[in-house]
C-alpha cells in the first residue's frame, strides 16, 4: 500500500475522540493554570485564564475536526 505523507486521512477516526477532547482541553487548561499559579503564587489568575483558553481551544478544535478534519 502506498502512503501519501502529505495528505493523511485522520478525519474519520479522530472524530471518535471529539466528545472528550472538548472537556479534556478545558481540564488541561485548568491543570496547566493550576501549575503556573502554584509556581508564581498567583491563584486563581492563570487557572481561570488558561481554563477559559482551554474551553475556547476545545470548541475551536471540535469545530475544525467536524468541518474539515485535523
Amino acid at each position: 500500500m502506498a502512503f501519501d505523507m502529505s495528505k493523511p486521512d485522520f478525519s474519520g477516526l479522530a472524530l471518535i475522540g471529539v466528545g472528550t477532547m472538548l472537556t479534556s482541553m478545558t481540564v488541561a487548561g485548568f491543570l496547566l493554570g493550576y501549575g503556573v499559579d502554584k509556581w508564581l503564587d498567583s491563584r486563581p489568575v492563570f487557572m481561570l485564564l488558561f481554563g477559559a483558553l482551554g474551553a475556547v481551544g476545545g470548541f475551536l478544535k471540535v469545530y475544525k475536526l467536524l468541518s474539515r478534519g485535523i
Binding site: 502512503f3 505523507m5 502529505s6 486521512d9 477516526l13 471518535i16 472528550t20 488541561a28 488558561f50 481551544g57
Partner: protein, 281 residues
C-alpha cells in the same frame, strides 16, 4: 464480603466504598486505605494487569510454537483475525511505515480488552475468595484505577513527543507551538493553547477509559445491591429475578462497552502517533 453481610452491618455506601478501594501498600492512609502520596502501590491493580499481560505473552508464545500454515487451528484463526483487524486499522490510518505501531496497537487492544473484561466477573466473587486468604480489599478491574489508565496514556504521550522530535526535529516540534492556531500575531496565546492541546491528548485517553469502566463497575455494584438489600423473605421472589435480568442485560451491553473502549484507545493511539509522523497538521 457479600452485599448481604455488608448491608446488615455497614450499609450500602460501605459496600460500594469497600469494592472501590484498592489493596494499597507503601504510603497509604491508615483510615481510608487510599494512596497518601506518590509512593503508594496498588497491589491488586499491579497483580491483575501483570497476570493478564503474562497471559497474553504465554498464549502468544504457545500459539507461535504450534503455528500451522496448512491446517490452522480454530484458535489460530481467531488470533489471526484479530491481528488482521488491527493491521487493517493501522494501514488505513497510519501514514508511512513504522514497525513499532502495529504491535503497539495490538498490545493495547488486547491488554486493555482483557483488563476491561475483568469487569464481567461477578463483583463479589474474587473479593470473597481473597477475603478467605485474609486480603481485606481487592479491586479486580485494573482499568477502574486511574493509575493504570494514566500510566498507559502517559506512555503514549511520551511516544508522541519522541516521534514528534524524531521526525520534525526539536526546532520543528517547537515551531508547532508558535503559530498554531491563531497565526503569527498571537504567539504567547498560541504557545499556551498548543501546550493545552498536547496535554489534553493523554488526559482524554486516560480519563475516557477510566470513566467508562469505573461507571460500568459502579452499575454492577448497584445491581448486586438489589439482591443484597431488598431480597429478604418473600420479596426475594420478585427482586432476585429482577437482579438476574438486569445483571444479564448490563453484562451484554457492557461487553460492547469494553470492546469499544479498547478499540477507541487503540485507534486514538494510532491517530496521535500518526499526527506525530507528518510534517504539518
Amino acid at each position: 464480603m457479600s452485599a448481604n453481610e455488608n448491608s446488615s452491618g455497614g450499609g450500602t455506601v460501605e459496600y460500594i466504598q469497600h469494592h472501590l478501594t484498592n489493596l494499597c501498600a507503601g504510603d497509604c492512609d491508615p483510615v481510608t486505605h487510599k494512596a497518601a502520596s506518590f509512593w503508594a502501590w496498588h497491589l491488586d491493580t499491579l497483580f491483575f494487569s501483570i497476570v493478564l499481560g503474562a497471559l497474553i505473552v504465554a498464549v502468544s508464545w504457545r500459539l507461535g510454537k504450534n503455528l500451522s500454515a496448512d491446517t490452522p487451528s480454530g484458535f489460530q484463526n481467531f488470533v489471526e483475525s484479530i491481528i488482521e483487524f488491527v493491521s487493517t486499522q493501522v494501514k488505513d490510518t497510519f501514514p508511512g511505515h513504522n514497525p513499532l505501531i502495529a504491535p503497539l496497537a495490538l498490545t493495547i487492544f488486547v491488554w486493555v480488552w482483557l483488563m476491561n473484561f475483568m469487569d464481567l466477573i461477578p463483583v463479589d466473587l474474587l473479593p470473597v475468595i481473597a477475603g478467605l486468604f485474609g486480603i481485606q480489599y481487592l479491586k479486580v478491574v485494573p482499568t477502574t484505577d486511574l493509575s493504570t489508565t494514566f500510566a498507559m496514556s502517559l506512555t503514549v504521550f511520551i511516544l508522541i513527543v519522541y516521534y514528534n522530535v524524531k521526525i520534525k526535529g526539536v526546532g520543528g516540534y517547537l515551531k508547532m507551538f508558535l503559530f498554531h492556531p491563531f497565526g503569527k500575531f498571537l504567539v504567547p496565546v498560541n504557545i499556551v493553547m498548543s501546550i493545552i492541546e498536547e496535554l489534553a491528548k493523554p488526559l482524554s485517553l486516560g480519563l475516557r477509559l477510566f470513566g467508562n469502566l469505573f461507571a460500568g463497575e459502579l452499575v454492577f455494584l448497584l445491581i448486586a445491591l438489589i439482591g443484597g438489600t431488598l431480597a429478604t423473605g418473600l420479596a426475594a421472589l420478585f427482586w432476585l429475578p429482577l437482579q438476574v435480568v438486569l445483571d444479564l442485560g448490563w453484562l451484554i451491553f457492557h461487553l460492547l462497552i469494553i470492546t469499544l473502549q479498547a478499540f477507541i484507545f487503540m485507534v486514538l493511539t494510532i491517530v496521535y502517533l500518526g499526527m506525530a509522523h507528518v510534517e504539518d497538521h
